[in-house]
Subunit: 413 residues, 4 copies
Amino acid sequence: MNALRNDAPARTRMLEHYGQVRAATLHRASPLSEEDQAVQSMPEASPTKWHLGHTTWFAEKFVLQPFAAAYRAVDRRYDAIFNSYYDALGARVARADRGLLSRPSLAEVLDYRRIVDEAVLALLDEVSDARWPALERALILALNHEEQHQELMLTDILHAFSRHPQLPAYGPAPRPYLAEEAAPMRWIGHAGGLATIGRRASGTSFAFDNESPPHKVYLQPFAVAHRLVTCGEFADFVADGGYEEPRHWLADGWRVVQSEGWKHPLYWIPRDDPRIEPAGHDWHVFGWSGAQPMQPSAPVTNVSFYEADAYARWRGSRLPTEFEWEAASSLRGMQQLIGYAWQWTRSSYDPYPGFRPWSGLAAEYNGKFMSGQMVLRGSSAATPLGHARPSYRNYFPPAARWQFAGIRLARVA
Amino acid sequence: MNALRNDAPARTRMLEHYGQVRAATLHRASPLSEEDQAVQSMPEASPTKWHLGHTTWFAEKFVLQPFAAAYRAVDRRYDAIFNSYYDALGARVARADRGLLSRPSLAEVLDYRRIVDEAVLALLDEVSDARWPALERALILALNHEEQHQELMLTDILHAFSRHPQLPAYGPAPRPYLAEEAAPMRWIGHAGGLATIGRRASGTSFAFDNESPPHKVYLQPFAVAHRLVTCGEFADFVADGGYEEPRHWLADGWRVVQSEGWKHPLYWIPRDDPRIEPAGHDWHVFGWSGAQPMQPSAPVTNVSFYEADAYARWRGSRLPTEFEWEAASSLRGMQQLIGYAWQWTRSSYDPYPGFRPWSGLAAEYNGKFMSGQMVLRGSSAATPLGHARPSYRNYFPPAARWQFAGIRLARVA
Amino acid sequence: MNALRNDAPARTRMLEHYGQVRAATLHRASPLSEEDQAVQSMPEASPTKWHLGHTTWFAEKFVLQPFAAAYRAVDRRYDAIFNSYYDALGARVARADRGLLSRPSLAEVLDYRRIVDEAVLALLDEVSDARWPALERALILALNHEEQHQELMLTDILHAFSRHPQLPAYGPAPRPYLAEEAAPMRWIGHAGGLATIGRRASGTSFAFDNESPPHKVYLQPFAVAHRLVTCGEFADFVADGGYEEPRHWLADGWRVVQSEGWKHPLYWIPRDDPRIEPAGHDWHVFGWSGAQPMQPSAPVTNVSFYEADAYARWRGSRLPTEFEWEAASSLRGMQQLIGYAWQWTRSSYDPYPGFRPWSGLAAEYNGKFMSGQMVLRGSSAATPLGHARPSYRNYFPPAARWQFAGIRLARVA
Amino acid sequence: MNALRNDAPARTRMLEHYGQVRAATLHRASPLSEEDQAVQSMPEASPTKWHLGHTTWFAEKFVLQPFAAAYRAVDRRYDAIFNSYYDALGARVARADRGLLSRPSLAEVLDYRRIVDEAVLALLDEVSDARWPALERALILALNHEEQHQELMLTDILHAFSRHPQLPAYGPAPRPYLAEEAAPMRWIGHAGGLATIGRRASGTSFAFDNESPPHKVYLQPFAVAHRLVTCGEFADFVADGGYEEPRHWLADGWRVVQSEGWKHPLYWIPRDDPRIEPAGHDWHVFGWSGAQPMQPSAPVTNVSFYEADAYARWRGSRLPTEFEWEAASSLRGMQQLIGYAWQWTRSSYDPYPGFRPWSGLAAEYNGKFMSGQMVLRGSSAATPLGHARPSYRNYFPPAARWQFAGIRLARVA
């Protein structure tokens, strides 16, 4: 790094940050065998190896090709293999077919990562001052993108293992829940009125395009729960016949409950399941450490929006909107906002007023998914530290259950 | 009617109104044979006869059974047949199976209507002053419900006829489009700021529960088109390859375009279709009068939300939110708000802040459908006159095309 | 009829026979309302009205158009509507969409029948002696074809009514089962050796192309049951857990048992079904007279090949091959061969050695269906009298249950 | 091996044979990486690793557990993982989910093979003379079973690779086709009459239960082609519009042609496919050596029964029955019976007269699949040498295309 450059400290920081994020990705893959890393258990979940390749391909397309004139693609055929959903970048393997990709091998994918990383690090040193700001933006996007896949790697492999008859353990949970007891739930009130939502206007830190533009929203007075709904509380809903009573459910949700035979959260295992040792526990919960007795005080996770909504209705409550969530996030006493479970909101994933997708390739990043999904706020135990922020908008279809999504309640103040 | 009662005029008005609405339903069925009235062409569309029975059953359940103590159900088996989706009212014939209901016959359904109508009219005369206000509310709901089915009768039979190889004509269109030319599209600006949305707080007139509570919304400045997108304008999108280019589309929409093979609006018929006479017209459009040459100045209809959204993006524009639509609806110069085509908005069908479903049976009326649907505003040529209002929220899934839904554009001011 | 013609008696006999068969078709439709006649309950089952039209269209295509030069089609659009599966005769309404055909009306279809009948009767009088033999063959085919549809009319409407929540009765059963008791089952032996199978070589009477050519088959010694399996006997299989034990079933059959949730023959109704009056009977059976208490001595019907095969295996027995059935049919003591229930055989529907489809339009009659189906022999209570013969080969897919098919057992001698 | 035993030579031969067959299985897996061996490309095709485990589990269940009292299962959980379809042996991973089995690892499966092999070899030495004959029978079954999976390993991995965008090569073809030219097709006549079909009654060599009992069949005179249909000949059918003309096809076949969009045999690649280098060849064919220019003289393979039947009809010919095939197989001049391609017959897979499944666990081996499938005779380039025999009955559903199945024509003599 040429220390005479004005932006040398920024380049150095980026160099370190890039190395840390890329290493963290490999660290998440490290407990898994070559074969584990190749499994795809449903169209929505990708193999670990594919995540490793896709994030690398993303750096190639969004960083190296625009900025490193001399860079030559490692293998042109990777475009068809590691493109996720960018129509502008050509034909690609169907999402449901990623489990068929025994080639390239994991070793070849790791080589691919090394070559791209070296090229990125060289580029950091060589790029002109004039192009540095644009490169910095591209790198920040690539690393935020990679962090999103770090989370998906953990949720996807957990789904794959949940389909295996032996319920194998991935390894230590990324952020285990340790509290013995949950405090009684408290309501925290908000007076309503105009609130500013979205990316911090003054901030220089990164935000996705879907968090913009910042804008005012008028809120009615409301209150939100100071903590998330626990497994023990959700077990009461199950025990009360919650999954058998249509009046708790949205019509679409009730249809899914019936067609899929849902009786409890995705990874809960009832006591008579032959895959667990006979024991005194009513429920086990499958997670990164395998099937473990349910912790009543831990936040319930791996529920769909439909289940979150039904639970709230059963409790005489409701879910917060994404605007209420964001406005309340700075209130005193709020707990478990970050690092426990994504929190389903009662907001459909619609564009903010004045929303414009990024230009160029990144135009397809978020905007084209703004239909049929619900917004989640916060972050989960699988989210890399520092990735999320109060204005962060995660989104999944209302029936999705393999993400670490939980429930925070709200009500009219 | 006992003229000494204080509310006699209200009762008289209701008596007349009830008769008119019920007669209008039969009038819409009148061009159709017994056999036409029994056809079901897809799970979402019901036979005419079923609509006739269901609206009658609704009056029985929501008006007679609560208020007419001596009333005995015409046939207890009708509960399973004419219940649409009320879980609280027990098991019922699956929605997709309504075309199997050759019994009761149309004649029996018409008898059913007569018996219920007579009982309602008798009830109007007999009910005590004390119970009159509650009865009046129930009747108003029943008649608004019946008007919704009047619209569905026309859209459902049109779908059935569109599947028939002869493309039969229903009869005269309910409200034919006559204008020869469309004025050039003008933008009408709105300054933004706080707007009040929803049921008029002071009003005594009817509104559905999903229009409540009225509440403030903060709007950015915006502009909306003074009229709807025409068939001729939409044909330009088709001719420009609009259905072949993924970048115009939401990801979900593009998936449907491909899986369903969409190439144009639902009822458009290209010139080489063997079902139409060879002619100089590029497009015919199927409607209540059969297949007719496309009127370039008429509003395009029978497009899905996905098509409306893609068209707007292709035009460098967007759809209005439901709040923008409602706020703009009172602006000077706005045209084609009511009676042409429902207008897809860029708003998912979420509950208003503080929304509470009605109590009792009517709790299932609207609230449980608040997921996976988009809001439409305005009303269509099939909507009974007087049924809609600016705060009215219609809703359909984003891929639905058999409704008379069209496009109004919006943009940042 | 010109009595001077040599073939005048044959023409007269045909004239009478034609009238009888055509009238019998209408007679079978007579208990049904216009609406009943329009219902289609699954792709494989057609509306009564469609059967009325299709058989008429068949006469138009196979009799009038080749032989009556001056005949003009009643409505050219009927070709697309009433063509069943003749690719050589052009595009047609999909089989699953026949329930959408509210047009032509029943009245128009009856007119169509009358016009075609008059033209056929005129043709019978006018055709030259030279063309008479060919015309006679065409008429015989048309009438045998019509008789096949007479049976389907009854089985198809029964399926439709079985899906109706009221389980309506069609009317009197075509041939009610009256015996109070079934004789104990007896085995009737056959010594094996060479047997001649297929159309009687010397006969002049009609047979379908799939019964030709007659040919020799070598049989091992075997024995067949003198009568069909009764409802009472089949109830023992049900009570013994027959539908829960995979070892009784072919692998394909077991898959269907599980995916469809089969627990008993198609039209059996267990005692706790809310559609029947609470009663002392373990089983009701739905039939043309509605739901009636099961007759233990009556032959079990409406079972699939899979159920027939599983029952036989459970009994330590097997089904006869179609060749064994045909060879045994002339043995003394054989009962219930004709007029009770079609009898599933252990023979796939393959062509006879030297089989050639008919020429011309009739080429598509039978041959193209020779895959994926099983042969049934005999005839059922719904089969018109005189329609079947020992060499007759009926065929349905192994999972089909809406036909009146039952079980005759066989074993090694 | 105790040389004093009378059956010592037989034991020694078995020891050698067992080692050879088991080694041949591993040899077929050897060109494949760990990741390749884990891929499952459709429910019907299993991962290589699963085949390695399943054949080992088969030896455990059918050889060790009945005969080696002291043997303890390597891992009880393998029962759920490596059981293919034996209902008598308990619950198991669904066939479509075998691609999820990243555990046990390939290394563990290879260990499993070693442990079982050692136990079998020890058993060969230790078993008493009294039990030897039964053990020998069990081993012969296990090895014939393993040879069947050797073939499936090659056809299954080829299917997986055909789905990969790079069309990777497996390695050298097991038995490459070398002939430059195909001789003109000759008809070889058979006089008909009684023929004996099935397992050689006098033979001591192995046959599957479905080849028994041997029995007489009466044949009409017929002729069969002396060789298989070539790729060049089949290309004429394609060029003549064979896949676009319903009259060549069975009705079921035509439905599949349309729903699946078939236009040529499974592994044929047209010249404009981007996955092959632009070249002067009309067709490439994908095989174990990757995509290669079509060899016109090579037998066409990877066609379904429907395509074989349609081709034969287009040629004015037909397919032989399995009985004709077997009777003709000993005629002079017949070529390509063994080792080129399985040969679809016009015979459904029905049981032979007097067929009885094996007893015990092996009862589920063949008999329960006798529905919905067609018989193939001969053997293919993927079949281990020595595995097949003239009475061998292979069987697949009529739409299956991933097997190496081709076409031999027949006709009336």
